[in-house]
């Protein structure tokens, strides 16, 4: 039980966020599209469990819907990274040291060399702020991560004898990649995916904070923080609540990722016995 402590706490936290996000489709305490200026800046009370913001919107409702935004942006960004990065990594691994490998890996290095946050800001600032561009900007920087991770793991798998056996069975490299390499990468990809997912949430918060994430009226935790910024001195709950939401989500995902890595990695599992 003790060894799964991270996994349990992490999954629990992540589930809370996921449930809050999903539940927000069905019901939220107050309509967040309806501004109510006279009710603004209430501290947490019985009507509004987490208080209201500067437009009189219910913060609990905002947090719930904001979770949706955060999760969606981060998830899609991870999707882009995996969807493009993994095939590239697998392809590079099949041609180790060859031209294709060089091109893919050098491009990776190049993307890594760009200051990610600056480029994300550049992309969203140049092509318009919004959730979609934020997803693309974050997603682009996920590509080399997944490419590198999957190439590294695939390379060591290609040395395994079961891959040789498959080659002796006349299977093409593509087929081996799909049939043998990919399934053996799932653990790794799940773990890396979780990590990138939490980084994505932080990145989305950062972009939204500088106003380049999801656009109003769609609530987003980062923008809630930005909106709250000037009011912290007299309404600290405006910043504390979305900040805590971000921290708990990222913490939950990280713990879950660590827990998954420990639980899925047979090497670590063995050493624990």
């Amino acid at each position: 039980m003790r060894q799964y402590r991270s996994l349990i706490i992490g999954t629990f936290l992540s589930l809370i966020v996921l449930i809050a996000a999903t539940f927000s489709f069905v019901w939220i305490p107050y309509d967040i599209m309806q501004l109510s200026i006279p009710d603004k800046l209430q501290t947490p009370n019985w009507d509004h469990f987490l208080g209201t913001d500067h437009f009189g919107r219910d913060i609990l409702s905002m947090i719930m819907v904001g979770a949706r935004t955060s999760l969606a942006v981060a998830l899609l960004a991870v999707g882009i990274g995996m969807g493009i990065g993994v095939p590239l990594g697998l392809a590079a691994a099949t041609r180790r040291g060859a031209f294709l490998d060089e091109v893919i890996m050098r491009t990776n290095d190049l993307i890594f060399a760009f200051p990610s946050l600056v480029i994300a800001i550049l992309i969203t600032a140049l092509f318009g702020a919004g959730a979609m561009n934020a997803i693309i900007a974050i997603g682009i920087f996920n590509i080399p991560v997944f490419a590198r991770v999957s190439r590294g793991a695939a390379l060591s798998l290609w040395q395994k004898e079961f891959i040789l056996a498959a080659r002796v069975s006349g299977k093409s490299k593509l087929r081996i990649s799909v049939e043998h390499i990919l399934p053996n990468l799932t653990n790794l990809l799940i773990v890396q995916g979780t990590i990138q997912f939490s980084l994505g949430i932080l990145a989305e918060a950062g972009l939204s904070y500088v106003g380049l994430g999801a656009q109003p009226p769609t609530p987003s935790w980062g923008r809630m923080l930005a909106d709250a910024q000037t009011m912290v001195s007299f309404a600290p709950h405006l910043a504390l609540i979305p900040g805590s939401a971000i921290i708990l989500t990222v913490l939950g995902l990280n713990l879950m990722g660590d827990g998954l890595r420990d639980a899925l990695d047979p090497k670590l599992r063995k050493s624990r016995q």
Partner: protein, 494 residues
Amino acid sequence: MIKSKKYIAATAIALTAVASTSFAASSDITVAMQLEPPHLDPTSAAAGAIDSVLYSNVFEGLTRFASDGAIIAGLAKSWDISAEGTEYTFHLRAGVQFHDGTGMDAEDVKFSLDRARSEDSTNAQKALFSGITDVAVVDSTTVKVTLDKPNGSFLFNMAWGDAVIVAPESIEGIKNNPVGTGAFKFQNWVQGDRIELARNDNYWGSAPALESATFKFISDPTAAFAAVMAQDVDVFTGFPAPENLPQFEADARFQVLEGSTEGETILSTNNKMPPLDNVKVRKAIAHAIDRQAIIDGAMFGYGTPIGTHFAPHHPDYVDLTGNSQHDPELAKKLLAQAGFPNGFETTLKLPPPSYARRGGEIIASQLRAVGIRAKISNLEWAQWLEQVFRGKDYGLSIVSHTEPMDIGIYARPEYYFQYDNPEFQALMTDLSATTDTAMRSEMLKKAQNIISEDYVNGYLFELAFTTVADAKVQGLWKNSPTQATDLTGVSWLD
């Protein structure tokens, strides 16, 4: 031991923090503002930040704005206007020197005006000079300016920051080393941080009380709040976060000045884009909007409601807010009459200032209540200029028109709200040819009525100009007839 060392270090830090602020008093001042000038040439950029630092401090024009908005003598101590109103003869002050020691004379005036109106001029307000047909040097202190037709606002135009007098000797380096005739000399610019000015001991006018001044640029509202609270700065002009003002008001260390500006904040409407080309639709929008909620929500109560495009503090202002009372039911009815019982969809493109961003959210919510779905997109200024202002690719926008007396823009059908009303255009033509004050007043009132009743734009509020200052600073401009931070009359109270 370790603990006590830590304590000493902390105390040392605290002490220096206190020391550095208490030194600041007496003869120098640190003024903070949100935007940093891109460069220091007021005659070739639109950035108001340039004027905020340099206007009347470093650069002066023939005429100038007083703190109440009146036009008073500047480098020209007096002027004569010919009977037809097309010839202006300016009598310059004698013995005025630029900061580099060269004299300011009629040649400099001619150079400045000709440069601004020339073919390759990069003056952002070139229209101010468009009526000038000739600038002639009569003698070293006399300049004669000829206009193609009478222009009632010519003296007003010459007071703008874009019309300040510069010298050909120093024009080359003006963008980084501005040389003017004002009471302060430019000292140093640490880009991204501050500009330092020092008193000009050869100033022609009365010497300012301050020996030196530092302008600091703090774009982030939180940082602005922190800087003022920590007394890192003495004055913050145009404080960006109205929500923090009550805290300063409650604090005896500070004074808050709420002044008026020339900034009419409007819901800019694309008058050519269906269904916004329908006056009923525009009227419906006007009634859907609750101005007070916007002022409370976006500006935390700072701002004066307006019902037309005119500054409320102006003597000719007419209160037309009654034309667009908050009445969602009426708005819905009007929409139905216009053929949109279920509302319609449009865009709401917002530039960066918080009045626009916050106001936009509130307006979108208010419009949604009557069925109009306004899709918000937040733009940077560059994008806003590209898409909205030049591209006219927008339905609605929110922007504050800070140029003084700019009702004339409604006479320009190519202007971004694309309002094309020949009656109004004729009125404006007449106005510029009229110099009689009473008649001008009548005409201005009529103009205000026309645009209000045509619901050209949604008229929201006049931007308040809020300055937070150390309680001991006196002589600051309360109002802001133009973007300027005139320090000539500022001093510390002992």
